[in-house]
Structures are given as C-alpha cells and as structure tokens.
C-alpha cells in the first residue's frame, strides 16, 4: 500500500537524501521517497508492515536531523 506523510522542519536536502536511503532499507518497504521540495515522505510498504515501518522511519529521521518530524 502507498501512503504519504508531511515532514516538518526538514531543512537540508542532503539529509533528506540520507533519510530516504535509510528508510528504503527498512524491512517491508517496497519504495520510499523523501520529497524535500514539498516536504513529504511517500511510502510504499507491504501490507501490514505500515506501523512498524513508520515507527522506524520516524526514528531514522530524528537521528539524522534532530529537529525533523514525520507527521501522521
């Protein structure tokens, strides 16, 4: 399934790229894109994996950019 989330305080394009790279590696993620210009995360995950993926994605985002938050 596909879903997209707003991201707050994502202020560096290179960090966005790094966050995207890491989220793509989470188990259950088919595709992920961190869209810096529109401040969005678009996720495509296997059915049932959404919750765990999202929690992990939030943790990753925080670890790379401490101020940044994925809103859900």
């Amino acid at each position: 399934m596909k879903k997209s989330y707003r991201i707050q305080n994502l202020c560096c394009a290179n960090c966005a790229r790094k966050i995207e790279d890491k989220i793509k590696k989470i188990d259950g993620v088919i595709d992920a894109k961190v869209l810096f210009m529109v401040q969005k995360l678009s996720l495509e995950v296997e059915d049932g994996a959404l919750e765990s993926v999202l929690a992990e994605a939030k943790r990753i985002a925080k670890s790379i950019e401490p101020d940044c938050e994925i809103l859900s």
Partner: protein, 609 residues
C-alpha cells in the same frame, strides 16, 4: 522569514560583529584564542551539536562532523580567524539556502492556491459557509466577486466574467452567463453568481492540478538520480583524500602542520549541499513556472525528456485543425445560389456534411420550395427546388447524370451541384486549420525540434494540404486508430532525442502513452487525457507548445550548468588546496559562493518570462 531563519540570522550577525572586534583587538596568545572562541560558539553551536551526535553514532562522514573537525583543527593550528570563518560562512550558506527554498515553495504554493478556503452553500433555506470538501453534487453555491469557484458546476443565475489565469494561463477573462459551465479554480470578477455543483471537490480540476504538481516531485529525473548517487560517494571520497593529504606527503617531505592545514581545507568543501539542493530546486521551479503558463508537467523526468525531444508528431483533427467541418470554398458562377440549392436539397439528410451545408448557407430553409426529393445512398440527392431539377452529390453522382464533373485541387470533401443540362459548381467542405498552427510549428523549429510529422485517419489529399499549410515534414494518412501506435514507433526508431506526440487526448490515449512525451491539448475537462499524457496543455492553444519546449530546455540547461559548475569548482579548490596555493579563506568562500550561485541560478526557472 520563519522564526528559525530569524534566529539563525541573529546568530550570524552577533557572531560577525564579535568576529570583527576580535580581529581588531591587539591581543595575543591565549587571550586572542578566547576572543575568537566566543563568535565561534555562537554561530557554530548547532554544527558542534550535530557533529557530537554523529560521532556518538560513529558516523564520521557526516558533513557537520567534518565541518567541526575543520574548524576545531584550525583553532588547534592557531588559525583562529579561519576557524570562525568556516562555521560563520557555512551558516550564511545555510540561511540563504533555506530562504531560497522557502521562497520558491511559497511562489509555487501561491500560484497553486486554486482552492478557496471556504464556500457559500445553500442549505436548509439559508446560505451557509462550509469547507469546499463538504460540497455535494447538486448543491447551490453563491460566488461573490473576487471569490474562487470551489468545484465544477453550472451557472443557474447571474452574468459575470471569470479569470482563468491560474488555471490555464489565459489572461483574457471569459464572459459567462446562466447555463454556462464554470471550472474550479477560476476567479469570479464582476458580479454575484449562483452555481449548481456538478462535481465533488476531489474530482474538481483544482484538486487534480494540485495533487499532480505535488506528485511531480516524486518522478525524479536522471539528473536528480545522478546527483543523489554522486553525493553518496562525494563526502567519503573527500574524507579519504583529506586523510591522504594529511598523512602521505609529510612522510616524505615532513612539515606536518602545513599538510594537516591543507587537509582541513578539504573538509571545508565536503558538503555536497549546493548540488543536492539546486537540482531538485531547479525542477521544482521549472514545473511550477510551467503550470503558471497553463502547462502541466507530470514529473521532473518528463520535463527532462521533453528537453531532449527532437521529433514531434501531431494528430491532425482537433489538434492542428479545429475539428469542425465548415464550408470553406464555393466554386461556381453564382456561389450564393449554389449554397442555397445544396442546403435545400440536403434539408432532410442527417449526414454531417448536410449539416455543414445548412450551416454554411446560414438562412432558414423553406420546405415548400422543395419537391420530388430523392436520395441515392452512396451518391447523392436529386430534388426540385422552385420547380427546377437539381442534383447534389459526389463525383460519381455527376457521372451518373451524364455530366463531366469539374476538376478541383482544393483539399477536403467535395459536394458537386448540377442541374439537368450542366454542372453548376463545387462546394468544398473541410476542417479549418488553427490560426496559429503554422507559426507554432515554425517556432518549434526555432526551438530545435528537427522533425515534425502528422498522423491522421483522413485521406491523402486532406492530409497533404494541412501538412503543407502548416509546414510539416511529412504525414501518414488513412491510419486506423491501432495503426497510429505502430507508426509512432516507426518514427521513434529514427529519432535520437525522443519523440513527442501531441493530441487532443480524446481517442488517442494509447498513442499518448507510447510516445516518449505525450502531450495532451486542452486538458481541462478530459480526464482520460490527464491520465494518459505526460504534459497537459490546459488551453487548446498550439502556441503553448514552443513555450513548453523552451521551459523544458531552459530548466535542463540550468541543471547541467549547476552540476558542472558545483563539481568543477569543488574539485578545482581541492586541487589548489593540495598544492598549497589556496588558503582556507578561499575554500570557505568557494564553498558558500558555489551554493549561493547555484541556488540563484536554479531560481531563474521561477522568473515570469
């Protein structure tokens, strides 16, 4: 400016002032170091904090960490001003970047502000305000002058003019009155309108355009993917080179301090930020700027593909021509009389040609004047008008009457008119070519489109005439809908840069999809076209095509400039630093300067021209 940006600016200013003061004070030794530590910490604190966290996680190839190493290293080597300058200018670059990104985001958001925040709906006997998303089909809406139309609907009361600029780029307001359809996103200009909603908000044009532009960012171009993978390698590579410079040469020539200083200079240019931000920013601006002109591009990759297109193939009917059949020529001794005869004789026919004839005549028909009406399918009609016998039909119909049909070179469908003794003349019915078709084709050529062709299901004569008048290189006629895809593939195999197909999107969706770039014209209202096409021209106007090509090429050129320029300057600085020619000051200025210039260059796509 946002709150964060203001804070950053304040930090930069305070730090800059303290920096100048420290540089002017006649201090030496430990006091001089302390004087510089204050401005350093004020502006460099966020960098130090992030660097600390990266170190805790063992990520030594993080830009913030490398920046911190460079500045702290400069302090240790006694180069205090350089140490401050590294973080100070890094912050200046960051502020500029976030300001520029915010500005272009707002500028696109503004032009995308197609949806009103509230709508006025008639519910339970009174006018109430509600969220546009709550509008139901059938609701009556009141739209005051200055307000935006929230959903697609039809006017039940009122006369006004609508501003469609943000929707189609058309600057002349459209006059509308009761019974006319109104598009969501258009602005009511002069007086109150009552509109009955015919579509829900999610299905309205405005909502569709919005989600399309947002989705466009997800379709990345090759240049963006290149930059992403480049930046993945860039920082570790710089780190490695820095270590090499710091450790290898001094083993042979000594002078450790000097080589370590040179290595620290490398770290200053370790952030690929300029590149990583400027490329998506350019595409974002390009797509935003295009939609302001009524050109919707569905992704950065499509914009990139359009920039490379060197061949364009047009559909004929409805794209190069109006798709409406008109009487274009009447050749005979008495043209008016000829039309009068033909229109009357075709009075009872339901054939589209008969309708064109009646419209061409334009006056009411008098049934009583007609007698002995007889239709021979596949040939034509014989009838008496005011008592005289006439024949109206095709060439074969004339021969059947024993007449030699007159010759004509005019393109289109011919209707022959004759009486008992002789042919009287020919009426030519054809599709009218759009007024700006020829000029648009020639400006496409000037924009670098090398070959332009046409596909049509119509016959050779009609196709050749349009082809010549518009100035195309060639055509394929008599095509069945299925043949069009095959023909397009044939054309594509001869093109280097890619093929674009331009159609009205009504029944050429498969062709639109099989082209490298499918362009649908007059996209408003046709959902099939919006689905199938890569680029949608909101207005049914061919002159938007050269504009679209121009924008795509301009965007692509800026992207290339930024990639070459950013990488080039960084490599150059590293070489100069390694040779000991450049100082840390040069590295700092080069790094921030590249960012600022690349971002300014990217923002050219937002210009109104």
């Amino acid at each position: 400016m946002t709150k964060q940006q203001k804070q950053l600016l304040l930090r930069i200013l305070i730090s800059a002032v303290l920096f100048v003061v420290a540089a002017c004070l006649p201090l030496s030794g430990i006091f001089r170091a302390l004087a510089f530590v204050l401005p350093y910490v004020i502006v460099g604190f966020p960098v130090l904090k992030k660097a600390f966290f990266s170190l805790l996680r063992g990520r030594v190839n993080d830009e913030n960490f490398l920046m911190a190493v460079a500045s702290v290293g400069a302090f240790v080597l006694g180069e205090y001003p350089e140490g401050v300058a590294v973080v100070l200018f890094y912050a200046v670059g960051e502020l500029f970047e976030s300001y520029a990104v915010g500005k272009s985001r707002n500028s696109v958001a503004e032009l995308m502000s197609l949806c009103p925040d509230a709508a006025t709906v008639f519910r339970d006997g009174e006018w109430v305000s509600c969220d546009p998303e709550e509008i139901r089909v059938g609701d009556l809406l009141r739209i005051l002058p200055g307000e935006k139309v929230p959903v697609y609907g039809r006017i039940t009361q009122g006369t006004s003019s609508l501003d469609l600029r943000s929707l189609t780029g058309e600057s002349v307001p459209a006059d509308v009155s009761s019974g006319d359809a109104v598009l969501s996103g258009s602005i009511n200009l002069s007086s109150v309108l009552t509109v009955q909603a015919e579509k829900a908000f999610e299905e309205s044009t405005a909502a569709k355009i919005l989600s399309m532009v947002e989705d466009a960012a997800a379709h990345r171009s090759k240049s963006e993917s290149f930059v992403a993978s480049f930046s993945r390698w860039y920082t570790p590579l710089v780190l490695l080179s820095a270590l090499t410079v710091a450790l290898v040469p001094p083993l042979f020539v000594g002078n450790w301090g000097d080589w370590i200083y040179r290595a620290l200079e490398f770290l200053v240019v370790s952030c690929p930020c300029a590149l990583v931000i400027s490329v998506p920013l350019t595409y974002f601006g390009g797509i935003g700027g295009a939609s302001r002109k009524g050109i919707l591009v569905k992704g950065s990759d499509r914009l990139e593909a359009l920039a490379k297109v060197d061949t364009m193939v047009f559909d004929k009917t409805g794209t190069l021509t109006h798709g409406v059949f008109d009487v274009t020529h009447v050749d005979g001794a008495e043209p008016k009389k000829l039309l009068e005869i033909a229109a009357h004789c075709e009075e009872f026919s339901t054939h589209p040609i008969a309708r064109s004839l009646r419209e061409g005549y334009g006056k009411p028909l008098v049934e009583e004047r007609l007698s002995e009406f007889q239709e021979t399918p596949g040939f034509g009609i014989s009838a008496r008008l005011d008592g005289r016998l006439y024949f109206v039909g095709n060439e074969a119909w004339m021969q059947k009457q024993g007449h030699t049909p007159p010759k004509t070179t005019r393109a289109g469908t011919h209707v022959f008119v004759a009486d008992e003794s002789q042919p009287l003349g020919i009426i030519t019915i054809s599709d009218r070519i759009k007024e700006n078709a020829a000029s648009s084709v020639s400006s496409l050529r000037r924009r670098g489109i090398r070959s332009l062709f046409m596909l049509t299901g119509d016959g050779n004569a009609a196709a050749e005439s349009v082809c010549q008048q518009v100035g195309l290189d060639g055509f394929w006629a008599n095509l069945l809908p299925g043949d069009k895809v095959e023909t397009l593939k044939k054309v594509a195999s001869t093109s280097k840069g890619g093929v674009s197909f331009v159609g009205d999107g009504i029944n050429d969706a498969p062709v639109l999809m099989s082209a490298d770039v499918g362009i649908a014209m007059g996209g408003i209202g046709s959902d099939a076209a919006i689905e199938a096409a890569d680029v949608v021209l909101m207005q049914d106007d061919l002159s938007a095509l050269p504009k679209a090509v121009f924008l795509a090429r301009k965007t692509h050129a800026i992207v290339l400039e930024n990639i070459v320029f950013s990488i080039g300057i960084k490599v150059l600085i590293m070489v100069l630093c390694a040779l000991g020619v450049a100082t840390m000051w040069h590295a700092v200025f080069a790094d921030v300067g590249v960012s600022v210039i690349a971002i300014l260059n990217a923002m050219r796509t937002l210009s109104r021209k």
